[in-house]
C-alpha cells in the first residue's frame, strides 16, 4: 500500500530512522531504560519513606530537584524560541533545525514540570494546587505559564508536522492509522497551505512572549522572596538569558548527535553549526554581562547578608561550583567560538557541552548558597545530595532522551516538506527579497532634454 512520491525521494535519507531500526536503537533504548529504572527506584524510595532519603535538611530545603526544575525549563527555551525567532526573521538556514529544536522543548517541559512533582513532600495532594491555588504565589504563576508554554509548544511542534505526517501516511506501510489520524486529512492543497501557514505564523509570534514569561516567572520563585542573593530585580531577564543560552547549547548537542548517528551530513552542515555557534557566543557574552552586573552590585554595596553569600561562592564552601561555572560558561565557549572557520562542528559541540554543564551548576549556585547561609545565627547547612537525588537526575535526563529517541523513531526529525519548500520556493523568495533591498532603478534622462533646459 506504500506509495512513494517522487518529489520526496530526493530526501529519502530523512525517512531512514523511521523505516529502519538497527541494533543501535535497541541498545540506546536499553541503556536509557536502565537510567530511567534507576530514577524510578530512587523516586519509589522517596515516595515510600519521605524526602528524608535526600540530602535536604533545615535550612537547605531546596536542592537538586529545584535545580533540575529550573535547568530543564531553561533548556526548553531552545526549541520554540529559536525556531520561532528564526522563522519570523525568515532565516532560511533554520529549515533542518526547527523540528529537532521544537521536540526538545516539548519533551523537556514535561520532565521539567515533573521535577516539581518529585520535589513535593505530598505528591498525592497535587490536586490541591488545582482546587485551592492562590495566584499570589509564584508557584501558581509557574503553573499557569508552563501550561501555556506546553500547550503552545505542542501546537507549534504539531502544526508544521502535519504535512510530514501526510507524507508518512502515504508512503509508509506501517502505523497508517496513527499517521492518518494525526495528518488531519492533509492533501497539500493551496487552501490548506494557507490555513496552516497563517496558523504557524500566529503561533510563532505568540510563543515568544509566552516563552519569555515562563522563565521570568520561574525566576520570580526566588526573587519574590526577601532572601539575600535572591531578592534581585535582575532575575527575570537574567534567567531568560540563561535559558536561551543553555537552550542553544542543547540544540547544538542534539544536532551533532543526530547528524552523527543518522548520517545527516548533507542536511546539517558546518554552516548551521557556525551560525548557531555565533549565537551561542553572543549569549555567552550576554550571560557574562548579567552575571558581572549581579555580583558587582552585591560587592559594591557591601551589605553584610549579601556579602556572606558572595564570599561563600567566591572563596567559601561553594568555590568549586562557582569557578567551574564561570570557566564552563565563559572561558571555554569564548575560546572555542571566536574562530569558527575550521572545525566548526567540533568546537561548537565542545562549547555546548561545557555550557550545558555550566548552566546546571549556575542553577545550583543560585539556590544552595543562599539557603545555606541563613540570616539568624542558625547552624549553617551543609547540603550533600544522596544517591536518590543523583538517581532522580539521571532518570530524568534518561527519560527526556528516551522520549526524544522515540519521537525520532516515529516522526521525521528533519522537516521534509520544509526542506523541499526551501529548494523549490526558498531560493526564489530570497532572491526577490534581496532585490527589494537594493536601490530602485530610475530611468536615465535623455541628454537632449537636459541640454534644452540649460540653453
Amino acid at each position: 500500500m506504500a506509495v512513494s512520491d517522487p518529489t520526496v525521494e530526493r530526501d529519502a535519507a530523512l525517512f531512514a530512522p523511521i523505516e529502519r531500526t538497527g541494533w543501535g536503537f535497541y541498545l540506546t533504548v536499553g541503556v536509557l531504560g536502565l537510567a530511567v529504572l534507576w530514577g524510578a527506584a530512587a523516586y519509589w524510595t522517596q515516595f515510600d519513606q519521605g524526602l528524608g532519603v535526600t540530602g535536604l535538611h533545615q535550612p537547605v530545603s531546596w536542592g537538586f530537584y529545584v535545580t533540575n526544575f529550573v535547568f530543564f525549563i531553561g533548556i526548553s527555551h531552545a526549541g520554540t524560541l529559536i525556531s520561532a525567532i528564526l522563522r519570523l526573521s525568515k532565516a532560511e538556514w533554520r529549515r533542518p533545525i526547527t523540528r529537532m529544536a521544537e521536540v526538545i522543548t516539548v519533551m523537556v517541559l514535561f520532565i521539567g514540570a515533573g521535577q516539581i512533582l518529585v520535589d513535593l513532600g505530598r505528591p498525592d495532594r497535587l490536586l490541591n494546587v488545582i482546587r485551592y491555588g492562590r495566584y499570589q504565589s509564584p508557584l501558581l504563576w509557574d503553573a499557569t505559564s508552563i501550561s501555556a508554554y506546553l500547550t503552545a509548544s505542542t501546537f507549534y511542534l504539531y502544526l508544521p508536522l502535519i504535512p510530514d505526517l501526510a507524507i508518512l501516511r502515504d508512503r509508509l506501510g506501517k502505523r497508517r492509522f496513527l499517521y492518518a489520524v494525526l495528518a488531519m486529512g492533509w492533501t497539500g492543497t493551496e487552501r490548506q497551505h494557507k490555513i496552516l501557514n497563517r496558523a504557524i505564523a500566529t503561533m510563532a509570534v505568540l510563543v515568544i512572549p509566552i516563552a519569555v514569561s515562563v522563565h521570568t516567572v520561574v525566576s520570580f520563585v526566588f526573587s519574590m522572596t526577601i532572601q539575600p542573593g535572591w531578592h534581585s530585580t535582575i532575575f527575570g531577564p537574567y534567567f531568560v538569558v540563561g535559558a536561551i543560552f543553555s537552550g542553544i547549547a542543547a540544540i547544538i548537542v542534539a544536532m551533532a548527535i543526530i547528524r552523527r548517528i543518522y548520517h545527516f551530513e548533507a542536511y546539517l552542515k558546518p554552516i548551521h553549526f557556525r551560525y548557531l555557534g555565533q549565537l551561542l557566543l553572543v549569549m555567552t557574552l550576554l550571560w557574562f554581562y548579567f552575571t558581572f552586573a549581579e555580583y558587582l552590585t552585591a560587592y559594591y554595596g557591601n551589605e553584610p547578608e549579601e556579602m556572606k553569600i558572595f564570599w561563600a561562592k567566591f572563596t567559601g564552601r561553594f568555590w568549586p561550583i562557582f569557578w567551574a561555572m564561570l570557566v564552563l560558561n565563559v572561558v571555554v565557549p569564548i575560546a572555542c567560538l571566536v574562530r569558527l572557520r575550521h572545525h566548526a562542528i567540533g568546537k561548537t559541540v565542545v562549547a555546548s557541552v561545557a555550557v550545558v554543564i555550566g548552566m546546571w551548576l549556575e542553577r545550583l549556585n543560585i539556590i544552595v548558597p543562599t539557603l545555606s547561609n541563613p540570616r539568624l545565627p542558625f547552624p549553617e547547612g551543609q547540603y550533600w545530595p544522596t544517591w536518590v537525588e543523583w538517581g532522580e537526575t539521571a532518570g530524568s535526563l534518561g527519560l527526556f532522551i528516551l522520549l526524544y529517541v522515540l519521537f525520532v523513531k516515529l516522526f521525521p526529525i528533519i522537516s521534509i516538506w520544509e526542506i523541499k519548500e526551501g529548494r523549490e520556493v526558498g531560493l526564489k523568495e530570497v532572491e526577490e527579497r534581496l532585490r527589494t533591498y537594493l536601490p530602485d532603478e530610475t530611468e536615465p534622462e535623455p541628454a537632449r532634454d537636459r541640454a534644452k533646459v540649460l540653453t
Binding site: G133, R134, Y135, S147, A148, T151, M184, G185, A199, L206
Partner: protein, 83 residues
C-alpha cells in the same frame, strides 16, 4: 475492498474529531480552572487583584491558542474528507 477502506477512513475520521475535541476540552479546562481560582480568591478575599490581573493576560492567551488550533482543525477536517 472499498468497504474496507471506507471503514478504515471512518475510524480515522472519528479519531480525528476525537483529537480535535480533546484539544478543545483541554484548553477549555484550563480556562475554567483559572476562572475557578479567581472565584475562590474573590470569595475568600485573598488578594483577588493577583488572580484578576494574571487572568487578564492568561485567559486571552489560552483563548488565542484555542482559536488557532480550532481554525486549523476545522479548516482541514471540513475540507479534505477523502483520506
Amino acid at each position: 475492498m472499498s468497504d474496507e477502506r471506507s471503514a478504515f477512513d471512518r475510524k480515522v475520521r472519528a479519531a480525528q474529531w476525537g483529537v480535535a475535541a480533546l484539544a478543545v476540552v483541554f484548553i477549555g479546562g484550563i480556562v475554567t480552572w483559572i476562572a475557578h481560582l479567581i472565584r475562590t480568591a474573590w470569595r475568600l478575599g485573598d488578594v483577588p487583584s493577583a488572580s484578576i490581573g494574571i487572568s487578564l493576560v492568561a485567559i486571552p492567551v489560552f483563548l488565542v491558542l484555542l482559536g488557532v488550533i480550532v481554525s486549523v482543525f476545522w479548516g482541514l477536517l471540513r475540507d479534505g474528507g477523502n483520506r
